[in-house]
Amino acid sequence: METIKQLSVFLENKGGRINDVAKALGEHGINMHAFSMAETTDFGILRLIVSDVEQAVGVLRAENFAVVLTDVVCISCPNVAGALSAILERLAEHQVFIEYMYAFAQGEKAHIVIRPSNLEECLKWLEEDDCDILADRQL
């Protein structure tokens, strides 16, 4: 079973906070592969896939950010129409719901980050379908 560690950061909705995170990571040579932002009127959760998650936690905590690590599934599929839909349909069939997801493309490939309602079930069905599930080291 392969999952990857996603970094979640608590941010107030005020100008420049995402940049403060990006800058802190950049200064330590940590690359952001992908991110997404879930917002409310006063705060948001910034979710990141980074090159060195352990180091990133240390860097951000030192800057007083509240951070937490979450297990997510990262699937790699061909960057072509219909590929994602097939995967999602398959998961829905098996009652695996998606709390949130976001995607990023790398050339020929599209990577999809999924936080499923049930991590084990999700991985089980994806593996059965021979989906290309990525580990941290493959990013």
Binding site: F10, L11, F43, N64
Partner: protein
């Protein structure tokens, strides 16, 4: 429980004897101010009062009140009852609005001051064997020097750390095995947090007793301080206009603060009408300095809201107590017609471990309607990636605030360590309506 009493003669006096003593002292006081403070002479003349009209303590109600505004109007030294040559020390209030207020002390006043602080420290269980770190600001503020000389007078060792260098403070607490701490309750929490950040805990210190005052604090805050610093935390009450810390103090019972009644006479009034309320009713605390000679005050309106508790305390002291001060009538906010005290918000926040004990109230007026926003710091370890959970947390705090305040407040979760830290008196309210 600690049963030591510093001045048994005075602290455990029979009520009749005490009233007799208070009457005699009041008579002397009125004679002093009538002849030496033009401000009081004029006020008494307006009321057709002569010093001879004040015979017993019951006559106090005939006397005029004194307010903070009177102190400002008589700035700098108009309320002194003695020539400047007799004044040996001056303290001044911060004066957030208008001019500062100045208080002058004769050497006799300073003797009384250190005596009442020794009474307080003894009530907390401090002995000659203790080392007490005084983390109140030293200088014009009465906290630092006041506590300092009280500790020395008791015969314990004083460490005048003052505010500021928290790192050095922690180092000295450890290296010297300091056992007592006197500071504001918010600084005590700040210290606990700094300790935690250094990877240390209460077990690394020998602290056992804390004397906290100069700002209102709640029972929840006491529990938090006691737990995080591994101490017994006690309230010390005072205000610079009257003397400084030591005017009243808790005992081992932690059930109300005993007033040093042989020096300060308390009354409770209705803050709106000035009417004296019967003992047991809540209202504004009014204090008369029975023995001060530098700048004595008649019936000074403290703006602190509390209730007097009659009866002999389990500790043996007969001096009257007052209940925990919820807030100053000055701090009280009126939002949509409802009285709101910052301390009420604080007690709700302290009950929820997900939040740091720090907050900011922002009151505004939008479309002719008052709005109340409560900003609160999320504790780093309470953050989760689950948005639903975070929203639940915010809603839960909002609901609790509503049940305590009787009005709804908008909760704003803010990042850890983002609200302004204060090492002295905390400012926790922004009222934008004043500017509108």
């Amino acid at each position: 429980m600690n049963n030591e009493i510093w001045n048994r003669n005075k602290e455990c006096m029979s009520r009749d004897e005490l009233r007799d003593l208070q009457g005699k002292r009041l008579h002397k006081l009125v004679d002093l101010v009538y002849h030496n403070t033009p401000f009081y002479r004029h006020k008494m003349q307006e009321l057709d009062l002569l010093p001879a009209d004040i015979r017993t303590i019951d006559d106090i109600v005939k006397l005029p009140f004194t307010t903070k505004a009177d102190l400002r109007d008589n700035y700098p030294v108009g309320l002194l009852a003695t020539p400047m040559s007799e004044i040996v020390r001056i303290h001044a209030s911060s004066g957030t609005t208008g001019s500062p207020t100045i208080v002058g002390y004769t050497s006799r006043d300073l003797e009384i001051w250190k005596e009442i602080i020794a009474r307080a420290l003894t009530a907390y269980g401090v002995t000659r064997g203790d080392i007490v770190s005084v983390g109140y600001g030293y200088g014009l503020f009465t906290g630092g020097l006041g506590a300092h000389y009280g500790v020395e007078h008791l015969g314990a060792t004083v460490l005048p750390t003052s505010t500021g260098n928290t790192e050095k403070h922690i180092r000295l607490l450890r290296d010297l095995g300091v056992t007592g701490l006197a500071c504001t309750p918010s600084y005590a929490l700040y210290l606990a947090e700094a300790l935690h950040k250094q990877g240390l805990s209460a077990d690394d210190l020998k602290l056992r007793i804390g004397a906290f005052g100069a700002e209102p604090w709640t029972e929840n805050m006491r529990h938090e301080i006691e737990e995080r610093l591994g101490i017994q935390a006690y309230n010390i009450y005072g205000l610079s206009e009257i003397m400084g810390p030591g005017v009243a103090y808790e005992c081992g019972c932690k059930d109300g603060s005993h007033i040093a009644e042989d020096h300060f006479y308390p009354e409770i009034i209705n803050p709106e009408t000035g009417e004296v309320l019967p003992v047991g009713q809540e209202g504004e605390l009014v204090l008369t300095t029975l023995t001060k000679t530098g700048m004595p005050l008649l019936r000074y309106r403290t703006k602190d809201l509390t209730t007097l508790m009659p009866g002999t305390c389990a500790c043996g002291r007969t001096s009257i107590r007052f209940t925990r001060i919820l807030g100053r009538s000055d701090d009280m906010l009126i939002v949509r017609g409802i009285n709101v005290f910052p301390s009420q918000v604080e007690s709700v926040i302290l009950e929820m471990p997900e939040f740091a004990p720090r907050y900011m109230l922002v009151v505004d007026r939008k479309n002719n309607l008052d709005t109340l926003e409560v900003q609160v710091e999320l504790r780093p370890d309470s953050f989760s990636d689950d948005m639903g959970g975070m929203l639940d947390l915010r809603r839960k705090l909002g609901e609790r605030l509503k049940s305590v305040l009787s009005i709804s407040a908008e909760v704003k979760l803010v990042e850890p360590n983002s609200l302004p830290r204060s090492e002295g008196k905390s400012t926790r309210v922004i009222d934008k309506r004043v500017l509108a």
